[in-house]
Symmetry: C2
Subunit: 560 residues, 2 copies
Amino acid sequence: MHIESESADKPALQLDFRTAPDDYRHWSISVDGPVATLIMAVDEKSPAAEGYELKLNSYDVGVDIELYDAVQRLRFEHPEVRAVVITSGIDGMFCAGANIRMLGTSSHSHKVNFCKFTNETRNSIEDASHHSGQVYIAALNGTAAGGGYELALATEYLMLIDDGNAAVSLPEVPLLAVLPGTGGLTRVVDKRMVRRDLADVFCTVEEGVKGQRAIDWRLIDETVPRSKFAARVTEKAREIAAESDRPEGEPGIKLERLERAQTENEIRYPFVAVTLNRVERNATIEIQAPESDAPDDMRSVQEQGVDFWPLAVTRALDDALLHLRFNEPALGTLIIKTSGDGSRIAAYDALLGGNQDNWLIREILLYIQRTFKRLDVTSRTTFAFVEPGSCFVGMLADLLFAVDRSYMLDGQLDQRPGPTIRLTNLNFGALLMANGLTRLETRFIGDSDSLETAKQLIGQDLDAQAALEAGLITYAPDDIDWEDELRLLLEERASFSPDALTGMEANLRFAGPETLETKIFGRLSAWQNWIFQRPNAAGESGALKLYGTGKRAKYDRGRV
Amino acid sequence: MHIESESADKPALQLDFRTAPDDYRHWSISVDGPVATLIMAVDEKSPAAEGYELKLNSYDVGVDIELYDAVQRLRFEHPEVRAVVITSGIDGMFCAGANIRMLGTSSHSHKVNFCKFTNETRNSIEDASHHSGQVYIAALNGTAAGGGYELALATEYLMLIDDGNAAVSLPEVPLLAVLPGTGGLTRVVDKRMVRRDLADVFCTVEEGVKGQRAIDWRLIDETVPRSKFAARVTEKAREIAAESDRPEGEPGIKLERLERAQTENEIRYPFVAVTLNRVERNATIEIQAPESDAPDDMRSVQEQGVDFWPLAVTRALDDALLHLRFNEPALGTLIIKTSGDGSRIAAYDALLGGNQDNWLIREILLYIQRTFKRLDVTSRTTFAFVEPGSCFVGMLADLLFAVDRSYMLDGQLDQRPGPTIRLTNLNFGALLMANGLTRLETRFIGDSDSLETAKQLIGQDLDAQAALEAGLITYAPDDIDWEDELRLLLEERASFSPDALTGMEANLRFAGPETLETKIFGRLSAWQNWIFQRPNAAGESGALKLYGTGKRAKYDRGRV
């Protein structure tokens, strides 16, 4: 089926983000001691939608889903892997970037979400390199063009084969009238720190740059003659692997296929249930507390594997967010709820916090962090409703600070006691936003007193009044107002322009410092979204539509 | 005349940015010792274009041009002014923000440029408060809505009259489906540090917030009962004025009307000439060196007034950039050239650098800084061509680092000696970009060796090879290639999509740290530009078009 046109309530292309190496069509993983190699050999006959072929190792969201899965598996299933080489299985072409026919025929919505997911995967590659001791290297055994070079930029070391042909390039501006928007421009000047005028030249030269000039301009780190390429890549990978703090002789945990039961209006995972309200255009994500006590030691954690509650919850939440983003664009508001015994969560938090040096706990914490970041950048309104029987404790309490607004019942609705929330140490350091701050630091930016007060409340069960006073929730309606207030809130939100809300939320969520990640999501993506709307790129005579037809795009020459 | 439709080569609405208090229709300035008051009383019958009335102290670019002029005059003409109160001449309404009919009937291009200019003026207000000892206060004697509140946010202290009605509000999202995009969202969370969930509430409440809640949420600093308002504003202004380091008993310098001679393809100012090439769609800005030696002392500087070369050049460049931006949108490339005796400039630079504590020199340096920032955020390609007879020295050399690329002739074209460039101390601290770094620091980010090397070259005349080696220019073609290379460069640039270039340039120019200013221009503006393109706002059934007609906008509900 074709990728849907704009504004389909439910796109015909329904994506499943669950996959496994045996099902990969485009990537393969090989592991040789401390070095893993990810080989991209895109099957051009297996695009995610109809209407294009994935020639020259170009990619679409289907290729990206496999890459994301591979990056996750290397982290969890392969504690022994300390360096990851990304290379191509196609001679002379590392990767040609995002498939242009796919971009030309996609809806604006699909293009934007595709770019966001691709950016997130690249950030997860950098996260592995910087925080997991699993450092990525790009072995460019052929040309890396456009998104292909952007993928290479997400690694820490770029080696380019010296065969007289292979080059790195970002030809989007001259060829397609769009930006190298999956991190490219930002990584060129802010990560590689390429001088801005040289970056300007590089981004307008279709054929790219190679050899010593590519090194001088900081675009790559090394060129290697064809005859020595494989050996030099292995040598470099082993050298980098030797610096890693990944463990020796520990078993990994297998990322079993995520269980998911799906009906028209409900998706059920272990510990997470998503209810879709198509009439009111919202979705409720309810996260359940663990059903048993936290394990006593790391051996038990290891044995539980993907059933270990924090990991199970995170996998489900990750999948739910991606599903909602791509498959349910009409549901404009996400409501987070929780249920169950919060005191159990505190014990899990203590286990996580007390074992941050353990490789597996580190991976789990980083995965929670990445998944919560996906919520931060989601282009939906996010609310949290704190009801009786809920368990916004520690890790789950962080969701109160991730959402746009939180509402907590002040009192009781039935015989159950009024809800409480509880902070743990996890809210004060382990889970950072893209801006490098915790969600509480961002919430209380410029208000260190409130941050200090919140710290003093760690471990206390706070009722609605106490939470309101501490600035931890937005509103605390009482039992009489509760139902009406939430109903009006959801109705009001659904009445606003989705575009204006997306822009507003993106600007209010990230106070404070900027990082590579916030620049990519806040600046580069916003510009790309703008350009994706412009006739010069996406119109019937735009460059994206006409590429490959032999016709030249006709541009409106006015500068804006 | 109406504001032009998209893509007019030359908009029918030609703006003149030169004005003076005697010609103001919307603002008045009154000065009482150390406190000046800027009173906004918009003449609703005097819009900049036809088709709308400026009711309720709403503004358009004509109102903004006067405000910009007033801010400039207070700085230069009134050294005695240490606090500036912005207030309204209309009872019960401080300012209703940008005129909605104007936005609804404007082209995308005009909306974007109008927002940019408005943002720059607000940044210049903050610049005066933070660096000039002329601190702005908002005396909100009525409601400040939308852009009206955004204007207030540009001041350092917000006082709201407590009359039971007056409120502050940002109703753009619910009413108009656009963002509070002239700095509003960014200033709310990053300057005022309003908690993000409260900011979310505030930006969706049409009627706004007032009273103690507005203080508690950090939206304002103080409320004052009507009976005490005037007295309290004066008291506060005098209190703030007392902290200023502005001089006592010094005369100001009069900002005489800027001389400008304009023909179809040329604009001539003192020391600046602009040549418009409509066929090749570019403009050349040639800046001339001083014609006499730098004055010996501050008294002479004062006497020269607006004829003092650095000030004269800056005023002309400022006007030229604004003129090109609004009145000549089809000219996509700006070429900077210089001519004259560069050694004279070095003497001026020494005079500026040696008198940074003098209030007037400080103003001139800050004005150069603001004007060069206008070049940084211009949505045109910028090149510098260094030819024989040029004088890229010090202050003018900084333009080499402001542009996207620079080309310097290596050798001679005629009998004249090959060109040289020269750095001065001014390139290493006095002129900061919006990111808080000098242009050389940004250029050499992550390459401190090159920055250090450049410092060692201060005062030396560098030929093309030396400049190239030091990384100070992009390319150094020789005399044989020079003409062809520049011709091809301009042709190539003119062949690219203007939108893609604008997005690319905006992402490559600001490596390094982010500030309030870069967030406003890079993030908020990019989102607003996107929203200005979306049918939900700007379409025939969009909120911006239908506002005031009684019809409700119909939104496409899909989130992107």
